[in-house]
Symmetry: C2
Subunit: 217 residues, 2 copies
Amino acid sequence: MSEPVSDEVRVRRVPDRASYDRQVIDDIADAGLVAHVATIRDNTPVIVPMFCVRDGDHLLLHGAPAAGVLRRAGAEGASICVEMTLLDGIVLARSSFHHSMNYRSLVVIGVPEEVTDPAEKEQALEAFVERLVPGRQADLRPTTGKEIQGTAVFRLSLEKASAKVRTGPPVDDEEDYELDIWAGVLPVGHTVGSPIDDPRLRDGLMPPDNVLQLVTD
Amino acid sequence: MSEPVSDEVRVRRVPDRASYDRQVIDDIADAGLVAHVATIRDNTPVIVPMFCVRDGDHLLLHGAPAAGVLRRAGAEGASICVEMTLLDGIVLARSSFHHSMNYRSLVVIGVPEEVTDPAEKEQALEAFVERLVPGRQADLRPTTGKEIQGTAVFRLSLEKASAKVRTGPPVDDEEDYELDIWAGVLPVGHTVGSPIDDPRLRDGLMPPDNVLQLVTD
C-alpha cells in the first residue's frame, strides 16, 4: 500500500481500503459527475454539490455556486475538501453489524486556484461539456466572451488526495457462516434513459449519435 | 416559497430552486443512501461519506468512521454539515453555458447528538438494515449487546435544513431556440442488479423475497 503525500488525506478508518495511487484516484474522478465541495463559513463546514471534471493533475470546478465560496477560499489561502463517492453495491451480511456497502470514494484537500486566462477558461468550460457528451461542443452555438467572463472556473491540485474502495462479499463473523441466512451483494448501477426532447425543440431535430450512445437501456 | 429557519442553510445561488419544506427534505433524505458529512479538522473541512437514514425529525449516522469525527463535534458543540444529492438528469442545452443537471439535494447543519441508550441504539441500528432491505432484520442473527456497544450512533436534527431541486428542460437564451441544435434531457436512474451470492453461502440457500423485490432489472 502506498503512503499519502499529506497526513491531511490519510484514511483513518479501515486503512486497508485506502489507496493513494493516482490511477485509482483518477479513475474515480473520471467516473463521477457530482463532487461534494466543503468550505468553512462562520466556523461551520458547508457542503455544496458541484459538477466536477478532472483535467490531468487537477479537478476543475465552475459555475455560479462555485464563484463565491471558492473565490473566498482561494483568496484566503484556505483549504477546501472535495469528495466523490460511487456506490457500487449493498452488502448484505448475516448480522446487522456486518452489513456494508461497496463503493469507491475520493477525497482531495487543497486551496482552489482561480483560472483567469480566457483561453484556459474556455478550454475548461469545453471540458465540462465534453465530459457530459463527448463531441457535443462542436454541435453547440459557440461560447461567447461574455459567457466565459461570466463563469468562474477553479482548479484544485490532485496532489493531496486519497481513495477508499470496498469490493466483494460480506465479511461475517466466522461462526455465522454456518447459519441458514442468505448473504451476498446487491449490485447498484446507473442508467441513462432515452433522451427527452426539449418541448421547445425545432421540428424535425433528432438527438445526435453522441447523445444516443450514452443511453444504457 | 417558504423561508429557512436559519440563515446557515439559506440557499444563496438560484434561490428559486430552494425549498425549506419538510416534505421535500424528507423525500430526498428517504431516497438517498449516501450522505456526505463534513466536519472541521485543523481548520480544514473534511468530508466523509456515510450511510444515512432518516428517523422522523432526525438523520441517523453510525459506524466506526462516524465515531471519532462526530463524537468530537458533539462534545465541542461544533456544527457539522450533512449533504445528500440525487442526480436525476443531464440537461443538454444549445450553448455550453446553459448545460446543467437535474438533481435533488439536501443540506442539514447542526450539532450531532450521540445516541447512548442501548435500546434506542438497537432501534437505530435496525433502521439502517431495514432501510437497505425492508424486513431483513427479522432474518438475521440477532444483534449482540457487544455489537450495540461497539457501534457509535448519532442523530442530527432536521431543524436547520434546506433542499434544492432542479427539474425540467434546458433554459436557453431566447434567440438560441431557433438554432438547429438538439437539446433536451438525458434521464439518469439507478439500478439494482440480481443478487450475487456470498461465495461462502451454505448450499441450497436462495435470496429471500425481500431482497429479490429490490432488483430493478
